[in-house]
Symmetry: C2
Subunit: 315 residues, 2 copies
């Protein structure tokens, strides 16, 4: 067996997931261990190195077959230098993660942010398989974006392309401030956080709705209520879908991708969300720009991060 394999690392604040991928993007083995964020940068790096060795040892592959190790994480990065500038869920500050891991592992290392890596995973062996140009949205706490052109992550001039959650698509009269400091970002409405905020607002102002549990409300509760016929919940879901569809229409006019892939927790709502996204997208997009374009759910779930991280070595 002289086949080359790649190890993908999904570095989260709680857990580190490592997976082995073959050259077709198939996930062969996985391992998950604690990040131990509270113990600081060195322990986290020790853990990554430990888990990468462990997954290879547990597999039928040899260390020599490892062609490279890719890692994805939430954070702002200097992608050219492979440095994590800062991260929302990890204690890294100006850590040259690529150089450190490469030296510790004795293998080529590539890093990118979690949204880009998830997009690459889906493009490689998920919902975008066989598609050269696709755009991915990850609807979670925020709205992440990733752009794949010719099968690779498109990073732009300074490595910040695909910030799709921060397009200002909400009209001024309805806009609220986003965590980024700007007004009216897509993320304020189409993320789980946005959906929960809208639901809490509705409950607080006394809208006639079955929604009520203010403390532990989840986006799923809002979708479930909408499916059960709650009109207030349905209106919230439609609003999240409307602005996503509107933002996608703008993206289509720029990039003319073949496929939009929508993942993340919120995307699990299914048809109730996707039907409205498609309605809006097709309504707002000129015919020539919507021809042949598909809008599909992500298929890899939480594995997209590991697969995409390994996919940083995709040729």
């Amino acid at each position: 067996m002289s086949e080359t394999i790649y190890v993908g690392v999904d570095l989260g604040g709680t857990a580190i997931k490592v997976g082995i991928c073959d050259e077709q993007g198939q996930l062969l083995n996985t391992y998950e261990g604690p990040t131990e964020t509270e113990k600081g940068t060195e322990t986290i790096i020790d853990n990554i190195v430990k888990y990468v060795h462990l997954i290879v040892e547990q597999s039928t592959y040899t260390w020599e077959q490892v062609g490279g190790v890719g890692a994805g994480l939430a954070g702002f990065m200097d992608l050219k230098e492979g440095i994590i500038l800062h991260s929302p869920n990890l204690p890294f500050r100006n850590v040259p993660i690529r150089a450190i891991l490469s030296e510790r592992l004795g293998k080529p290392v590539r890093v990118d942010n979690d949204a880009n890596v998830a997009a690459l995973g889906e493009a490689w062996s998920g919902a975008g398989q066989g598609v050269a140009n696709c755009v991915c949205y990850t609807l979670g706490t925020g709205v992440g974006g990733g752009i794949i052109i010719d099968g690779k992550i498109y990073q732009g001039f300074s490595g910040v392309a695909g910030e799709l959650g921060h397009m200002a698509v909400i009209p001024d009269l309805e806009a609220i401030q986003c965590g980024c400091g700007k007004m009216g970002c897509l993320e304020t409405v189409s993320s789980a956080t946005g959906i929960i905020r809208m639901a809490k607002d509705a409950v607080q102002r006394g809208d006639r709705t079955s929604l009520s549990t203010l403390e532990h409300m989840m986006a799923k509760d809002v979708f479930d209520a909408a499916k059960a016929g709650d009109e207030v919940a349905a209106r919230i879901v439609n609003r999240a879908a409307f602005y996503l569809g509107k933002a996608m229409s703008a993206v289509a006019m720029v990039l003319n991708p073949e496929r939009f892939i929508i993942g993340g927790g919120v995307s699990k709502a299914g048809d109730i969300l996707f039907d409205e996204i498609r309605n809006v997208f097709y309504k707002l997009t000129p015919d020539s720009l919507q021809k042949g374009i598909e809008i599909v759910p992500a298929t890899l779930g939480n594995d997209a991060g590991m697969i995409g991280a390994a996919g940083l070595f995709r040729s």
Copy 2:
């Protein structure tokens, strides 16, 4: 002299402009002759062939040195097959222009639409020289767009990427219908046509303005009035600039280009337009996405089409 040269053809409804470019995108010789649109497709093609031979004969180069002939024109094209589907200012309908010209000239031929070709010209040897990723707007009768990634035109999945004039950036309450059939496209406000429309509306509703000549008003008249202190004209200019800056902000979040280049007749308004575009862009765009990004006027003027057409052979 064994240097390779390229011939660029700018095929307009009135005139055909042909130019010889060297491998650095410098325009060496040019020739312009009538299109004779009224005589139909065959005459137009005969004219292109005639002018291409003529410009080479008049130059110090030999026919053997011609590495290829590129052509740009207004119209909808099947870029993969090199077919013009239809054009607003030429009688072509489903004409396989690439194959026809290639056979007639005995040279490789490449074609693309005028906005893409102008963008490539600017990127090659105009305002985008040395920049890998840039986005160009051409503000004329409409608003054209062209995206250059890694020095090449980015065409997207079905060849219609960069339709930047049809982003829906005008709020619903102010939106009017665009020629494309959709509401609120950038082109309805930031084109010469849009500026003239807003000025005529202002005159007709009796706004206090120095603008008055309803019949032959030009966008330049509005800019001149604004520069002379006319507040109504200034408001129109600001509105055109505002929505362009807003659209560019959305594009920056997708593409993170290094430079925006703005050309076309309207761009000649100068600082009065550019200052406001920059104000709006920097206000609406998160810091990380505006860092290092420049917004500059196009520099090649009407030569951008010829140079970019030759640039279709840029390696």
